[in-house]
Symmetry: C2
Subunit: 148 residues, 2 copies
DNA sequence: GTGCTTGCAAATGCTTTGCACAAAA
DNA sequence: TTTTGTGCAAAGCATTTGCAAGCAC
């Protein structure tokens, strides 16, 4: 529904924040803009760079706090691809990820393409929190990138 | 020390190391024993504790270096469940994981139970490095554990 | 004024690295 | 001897937190 990755105005962001019960401060609006306009997945540091590319100055603490807030409020979701490598994904629709180990690039795999069957039943006191699928790929061992 | 779920002797470990081209030092043997005897998934720190529970003293540096070596040699594989939360899985057979967000517990899902269809074709210069599936579950919001 | 928000800087947690010493080939 | 492995302590990186100052209602 609110998977808008293209042209988003400040008003859209304001309403997005409002819908998720987040007070729209200047910093949060900047951060939301950076996340929802710059399509794709960004790390906390990339968000920091994006937000501070223009005049605005937002501290790393606020970046992290805000990303955490957005995650808690279900506006974005974290994608963990390697230890210490977390991307934030504005696409809340069910989908999966393709990760290039060599370049660190992360791309989406639509949920409609992939079908997963046979996931186990959860204990009654537990609820499903999400299914993370990361397909990892890398260059062949003999190709330029694959050398080690 | 080791609660052996599967009975693995030092000789088995020695041959395992040898088969993977790893020189069997005392420390590596200890670490391998800890990983392959203590069933289940352990973090680097848990391996450190397990190895040093008895007399043996192996430094953290060696634990990390050795785990990395084992991963590179295809003896174990890392499972990343959260930023800064990496488990090492001695089960190299294709399978998936169920992660309990509340307790931090990680359990296996056999690959035979789960079927995944429709994964995208990779670019010709890339090879599949692995498919990581982590099913995340947590307590219901109103249950004891779910409170936040 | 009261309560939420921000941001600096310090602290944390996990992991890697530099370097000297020890062991093995 | 030459190579390889070990371990301490220091460095590194990503993230969190304590706390004081700022802003909003």
């Amino acid at each position: 529904m609110e998977t808008l990755s293209s042209n988003i105005s400040n008003r859209d962001v304001a309403s997005l924040l409002h819908r998720h019960g987040v007070q729209p401060t200047a910093q949060r609006t900047e951060i939301a803009l950076a996340i929802f306009c710059n399509a794709g997945h960004q790390s906390a540091d990339e968000v920091y760079e994006a937000v501070n590319a223009d005049a605005t100055r937002v501290s790393r603490a606020t970046i992290y706090n805000t990303l955490k807030l957005f995650v808690d409020r279900g506006m974005i979701r974290p994608v963990i691809v390697a230890p210490g490598k977390v991307f934030y994904d504005p696409n809340m629709a069910p989908h999966y990820h393709l990760y290039d180990t060599d370049t660190g690039e992360l791309t989406d795999i639509g949920a409609d393409q992939v079908k997963i069957h046979g996931l186990p039943k959860l204990p009654p006191d537990k609820q499903l929190d999400g299914v993370d699928v990361v397909v990892r790929m890398r260059s062949h061992p003999n190709s330029p990138h694959g050398a080690h």
